[in-house]
């Protein structure tokens, strides 16, 4: 694919995410997944899971780091190398921030006045439960052979995958271990057991 076409599509996708990105980082992760994996096939499901891992293991807002990673990986996957990838990352992050910046500069005064209006409240009341569903849909997308080696391929790898899954669930929900630590522990488990 022509590199300019790819840059343009990338920019457009993240512009859309910037306009409709309600519900915080994990809801935006689902939107970016739909653009980058489902619609455009820039990344595989497994690669996108790796991107989410990187975002959870590094500081900073998930919405920003995921845009940067997807921008980079899309270009590298298409064969445009390191520098093409860096430009893709910058483009994706800029596109994602642009709508909010423009809105703020152009209609900040008007915005402040009407943000408490009940029409806005009603709109957001509809959006909120939906964003939970979007994050949940990403979990369903992630329950795939890319992330849990299929038992037909290797019973041992499948078993270890399930054990790691349960470990991470318990470590976070019961023992309140941070995401970065859990990811590091599971990376080590992967080296030893896989």
């Amino acid at each position: 694919m022509n590199i300019l076409v790819l840059y343009f599509q990338l920019f457009l996708s993240f512009l859309k995410v910037g306009v409709l990105g309600f519900g915080g980082g994990f809801s935006m992760l689902s939107m970016i997944h739909s653009e980058a994996v489902v619609n455009h096939h820039w990344l595989t499901n497994g690669q996108y899971t790796d991107v989410v891992a990187v975002c959870q293991a590094t500081p900073g807002p998930v919405g920003v780091s995921s845009a940067a990673c997807v921008g980079y990986a899309s270009l590298v996957n298409a064969g445009y190398g390191f520098f093409g990838g860096i430009v893709g990352a910058l483009l994706a992050v800029t596109a994602e921030m642009l709508p909010a910046l423009l809105v703020m500069l152009l209609i900040c005064k008007v915005l402040m006045k009407y943000m408490d209006h009940k029409y806005v409240e009603d709109f957001l009341r509809g959006v909120r439960p939906a964003t939970v569903g979007l994050a949940l849909s990403l979990v369903v997308f992630f329950l795939c052979g890319d992330n849990f080696t299929l038992p037909t391929e290797s019973w041992w790898h499948f078993l270890v995958s399930i054990l790691i899954f349960v470990f991470a669930l318990v470590a976070q929900l019961v023992y309140r271990l941070g995401a970065a630590r859990i990811i590091i522990i599971c990376a080590l488990a992967g080296i030893v057991l896989m």
Partner: protein
């Protein structure tokens, strides 16, 4: 002014982990208590507006606060500062992952990490559901979203738009009653 704001948000971007709202006490301490750039009250108002806006919360609040204390140049400086650290760190790590994913070591690491990421994401959904007050009566909404997005391939962007419009219309019906 620009340099001070840039410095504050650079630190915030470097330290921010997970939930976007966790960065607020830090920003408040720097901008309100230490540098007296704005009052507690206007800080609260701006946070409230930023929470309702689409996009990345940390970026939005950086822009709003920057704009309030120094105009659009400060807004851009604050936004750049808040994304810069994560941009560097995340890119460095993802470049390693993408560049070496055919090496035996990296592929073992990823096989260990991927199931954990799915679990962590599931935990986040629980937390989101709590914050969004999803109850037995409203649980059909997230379930319906999963069905249309996963099985019918509808874009999450469209789902958000439709959900918002539905919320708006429901509000009007309620007003009539």
């Amino acid at each position: 002014m620009n340099n001070t704001v840039f410095g504050i948000f650079l630190k915030v971007g470097l330290l921010a982990y997970g939930n976007g709202f966790a960065i607020l006490p830090k920003i408040r301490k720097e901008m309100v208590s230490r540098h007296h750039m704005l009052s507690d009250k206007s800080f609260d108002i701006l946070v409230d507006v930023a929470k309702k806006c689409p996009g990345v919360f940390a970026v939005n609040i950086a822009m709003f606060l920057g704009n309030r204390v120094g105009g659009w140049r400060t807004a851009v400086a604050a936004a750049v500062a808040v994304v810069l650290p994560s941009l560097f760190v995340a890119l460095a790590l993802v470049a390693l992952v993408v560049g070496f994913d055919d090496s035996a070591l990296v592929s073992k690491v990823l096989m260990g990490v991927r199931p954990a990421v799915v679990a962590l994401l599931a935990c986040s959904v629980f937390k989101m559901a709590k914050v969004a007050d999803v109850s037995v009566r409203s649980i059909w909404i997230p379930v319906a979203c999963v069905l249309v997005v996963y099985f019918f391939g509808i874009s999450p962007l469209l789902v958000v738009l439709v959900a918002g419009i539905a919320g708006f219309l429901w509000g009007r019906v309620r007003d009539e009653a």
